[in-house]
């Protein structure tokens, strides 16, 4: 029987109920470390999991956290990838007195082989707490808790033995992340994994060495369903779309109407919603009313379609995305800190997504970075800079022409900041010449 030093009556109540329990899991790791059947020479405190449970119990008792700010820790030459963390009761919980996090750049799409996972687990069991996050909110594999001397050791082993680098943190390019994309999903309009990987590799310097005013995120959604939430949380949001017709299999449409195929790929199967009604469930819910069904043929008026995905989601075996695919680029999403949340704003309605992605890099990413690095204030996200200096400035620095797709509606005030070169004759005028015709 493995002993637990700390009594944890509060958090023990999180070990019941059907959902999987993180408390039971941390206890399991403690038992594994104390029993140590493989005879591992632990390089970080063997009893750290017990102390972590103790800290957590204390927080459940106090209703307050017991972690301090990160100190400046990291690996040589990198400004990101490690987050320092110290406990504010180190005497009570020496096993987690120093408990730094390392961010490991996840493989795109979060695909793993067990061979690779085993290398990561062997390393982290020996040199860290044996606890991870799979995954952090940005997408990285999170190694949760180790000491300062182990940071370089972990990094050395990661790079030398596992061919694997750290991810981003701080005021730099954060680890880009993507949806499963074309690997498993028929809705994906571009190869999210490939562009995510290639841009991660292209911008390694920006990812590891903070030179930005604040964090900067790329996220890649293969279609407008936005499973990776790029539109809500990335500075450049890549969302797959297409320009041609939705491909229709009329026989499959009839199969949905006839009830042989289940609507929305079976997503509603646990409840009886009555027989499928194409008029009500597809045609009637189409936001642009660009579809019609005459009982034998489904028609879509493509120029009116905004590609919202509803009809495709409902009838995936009858409707497929078009063949002329690419992505839309939207800029400036962020969560509420500091000035309120912002959704990303559409700047490029359509761009092809093809290696080596020069057009995306040269006409969007790099001009935007140049502007933001020049004008952005400390801790100002791109979206806030866009709000402060205006969409006109985005057009100026990228050279894109203003088009109505960029807005929901035109401005309702006429306060246009006309520029001198837009007005014939410019702003320089002669008051004496004016006075010849207009008395004082």
């Amino acid at each position: 029987m493995v002993e637990f030093r700390h009594k944890t009556p509060l958090i023990d109540q999180l070990e019941t109920g059907p959902w999987t329990s993180f408390v039971s899991d941390i206890k399991r790791e403690h038992e594994s470390r104390m029993e140590n059947p493989k005879g591992i020479d632990y390089q970080f405190n063997q009893d750290c999991c017990d102390d972590l449970l103790g800290v957590l119990e204390l927080s459940y008792d106090h209703g307050r956290t017991h972690w301090k700010h990160g100190g400046i820790v990291g690996v040589f030459g990198y400004g990101g990838g490690v987050i320092g963390r110290y406990c504010d009761q180190p005497e009570m919980f020496p096993g987690v007195a120093h408990f730094h996090t390392m961010r490991v750049n996840q493989p795109m799409g979060h695909f793993y082989s067990t061979k690779y996972l085993e290398q990561l687990m062997d390393l982290w069991e020996r040199r860290g707490s044996g606890l991870t996050n799979m995954h952090g909110a940005t997408g990285d594999i999170i190694f949760l808790g180790t000491s300062t001397p182990q940071l370089e050791e972990v990094f050395y082993e990661l790079t030398h033995n596992i061919n694997q680098d750290l991810g981003g943190s701080g005021s730099n390019l954060r680890t880009p992340s993507d949806c499963m994309g074309q690997s498993m999903c028929e809705f994906a309009c571009f190869d999210t994994q490939e562009i995510c990987y290639q841009l991660t590799m292209e911008y390694q310097d920006e990812l590891h060495r903070p030179a930005f005013p604040y964090k900067f995120k790329f996220k890649f959604d293969g279609c407008p369903n936005c499973c990776v939430a790029s539109i809500a949380r990335s500075d450049i949001s890549f969302i797959g779309t297409w320009r041609d017709d939705i491909r229709i299999d009329q026989e499959a449409v009839k199969a949905y109407v006839g009830g042989e195929l289940k609507s929305n790929a079976g997503a509603h199967a646990s409840r009886d919603w009555g027989p499928f009604d194409i008029q009500k469930e597809v045609i009637g819910l189409c936001p642009t009313q660009c579809m019609s069904w005459d009982g034998s043929k489904l028609e879509i008026n493509t120029p009116e379609c905004t590609r919202c995905m509803h009809c495709i989601n409902v009838m995936p075996r009858a409707l497929r995305i078009g063949l002329d695919t690419g992505c839309s680029l939207l800029l400036g999403a962020k969560s509420p800190i500091l000035d309120g949340a912002q959704m990303a704003t559409l700047v490029v309605p359509f761009i092809k997504v093809e290696p080596p992605y020069d057009e995306i890099k040269e006409t969007v990413i790099e001009p935007i970075w140049d502007w933001w690095m020049e004008e952005g204030k400390n801790r100002e996200r791109l979206g806030e800079l866009i709000k402060r200096q205006g969409m006109q400035k985005v057009l100026e620095v990228t050279g894109f022409k203003a088009i109505p797709q960029m807005i929901q509606e035109p401005r309702s005030n006429p306060y246009v900041f006309w520029k001198e070169d837009e007005v014939p004759g410019g702003f320089k005028r002669d008051i004496n010449e004016f006075r010849k015709y207009h008395q004082r």
Binding site: P18, S21, Y60, G77, S113, L131, N133, H160, Q182, L285
Partner: protein, 382 residues
């Protein structure tokens, strides 16, 4: 514990240093059926909650089974996942964007054997190690932040609030009975690591007391101008204080202006906000990230404050359950929670969900606030 060197030489940090190599190339982790059929998938179908078959143009099939996971995961648990993946899915496994584990098999038989196997695996207290579900019109796993496990700014715990919420909503995880998918997200302070601000239901930790000022230490521990500049409402000013006969540099906080964001604390550890009574939960509702039918939406604050009730937050889970059940009983097929609330009107939403409406719920934060007030006579009596 004897120190074992990896080979790194602290005296010569640049010796043999390898940097900027990025992640491993994803393709080496694709199961063969994905490598072969990537970009050529024809359709997918949810066979039962948690199990999805993907069918390729080639006729190949891929069965994916979705298991809930704690975002916080031990090496031992991951080794168990590896054992399952080796046994049933040729040593491949993936995680979803919402902390679920997906095992991929090439036959339905293997998939069903895997299902029976993992459902029999329980933790000592009876919790499933690998609950199956989270597909289609259901509630999938809650994405969340670190909370009291590992963060310096939380106003509540993350893993614990998620555990009790998923226990409460487990029926909607295991079944696909809702009008549409319902995404719950959790952030333990308003820095909101992750996209909780666009979720059908968001659980948010919030502070309600202005920062304490550790006058004796602030000038030694912090760059005072950075703390002042960090305040979004300009509530912090430089000041001086007499301290044991010495004049010390410090700050003063205009408490009426404080919005409790904790940005000063992020820049300056001498300004902590955490407080037992002050801290607790905000509930938000009606957001989404999908462009389906209408544009993505922000979540709206529907409950301004619920106290932290450790260890199982009963008021919070009961309030969430009431919202989910009311939505489920009233919304149309395909209608997301926010779309339903907008169709019936938010005044009706509060009535039906039996939520008290208080002045805290009327926006008063800067210009966008005006656009959330009602400028029409079209309203419903409740």
């Amino acid at each position: 514990m004897a120190f074992i060197s990896s080979g790194y030489n602290p005296d010569k940090p640049m010796e043999d240093r390898i940097t900027d190599i990025g992640p491993r190339y994803y393709e080496e982790f694709y199961p063969p059926v994905i490598k072969k059929n990537k970009g050529k998938w024809l359709y997918h179908e949810i066979l039962e909650p948690g199990i999805v078959v993907h069918v390729a143009e080639s006729g190949d099939e891929l069965y994916a089974i979705r298991c809930g996971g704690c975002r916080l995961m031990s090496v031992s648990h991951i080794r168990e996942i590896m054992e399952i993946a080796d046994k049933y899915s040729d040593g491949y496994v993936r995680w979803t964007t919402r902390n679920n584990i997906e095992f991929m098999t090439d036959s339905k038989d293997k998939c069903m054997a895997l299902k029976a196997d993992v459902l029999a695996r329980k933790q000592p207290g009876g919790c499933y190690k690998f609950p199956i579900g989270g597909t289609g019109a259901s509630i999938t796993n809650i994405v969340h932040t670190q909370g009291w496990i590992h963060c310096h700014t939380p106003a509540t715990d993350a893993s614990g609030t998620v555990k009790v919420t998923m226990d409460t909503l487990f029926d909607q995880w295991e079944n696909m009975k809702l009008p549409a998918k319902l995404r719950v997200s959790m952030a333990c302070c308003l820095n909101m690591c992750g996209a909780v601000h666009c979720s059908d239901i968001a659980i948010l930790g919030y502070h309600r007391k202005p920062p304490l000022v550790d006058h004796e230490y602030i000038d030694k521990m912090c760059e005072i101008p950075l703390a002042i500049a960090a305040c979004p409402t300009a509530a912090i000013k430089p000041s001086k204080i007499d301290w044991n006969g010495k004049k010390l540099n410090t700050v003063s906080v205009n408490e009426e202006r404080c919005m409790f964001c904790g940005n000063c604390y992020t820049m300056c550890p001498s300004m902590p906000l955490a407080d037992t009574e002050g801290d607790g939960i905000v509930l938000m509702a009606g957001g989404k990230i999908s462009n389906r039918i209408d544009a993505p939406k922000f979540s709206k604050v529907v409950v301004a404050f619920i106290p932290n009730e450790m260890p199982r937050w009963p008021t919070m889970t009961a309030t969430i359950k009431k919202m989910v059940d009311t939505y489920s009983a009233n919304a149309n097929k395909y209608e997301r929670l926010g779309q339903w609330a907008e169709r019936i009107g938010w005044e009706k939403f509060f009535e039906k969900c039996e939520l008290e409406f208080t002045h805290h719920l009327i926006d008063d934060f800067r210009d966008p606030a005006y656009y959330t007030w009602r400028q029409t006579t079209n309203f419903k009596f409740t």
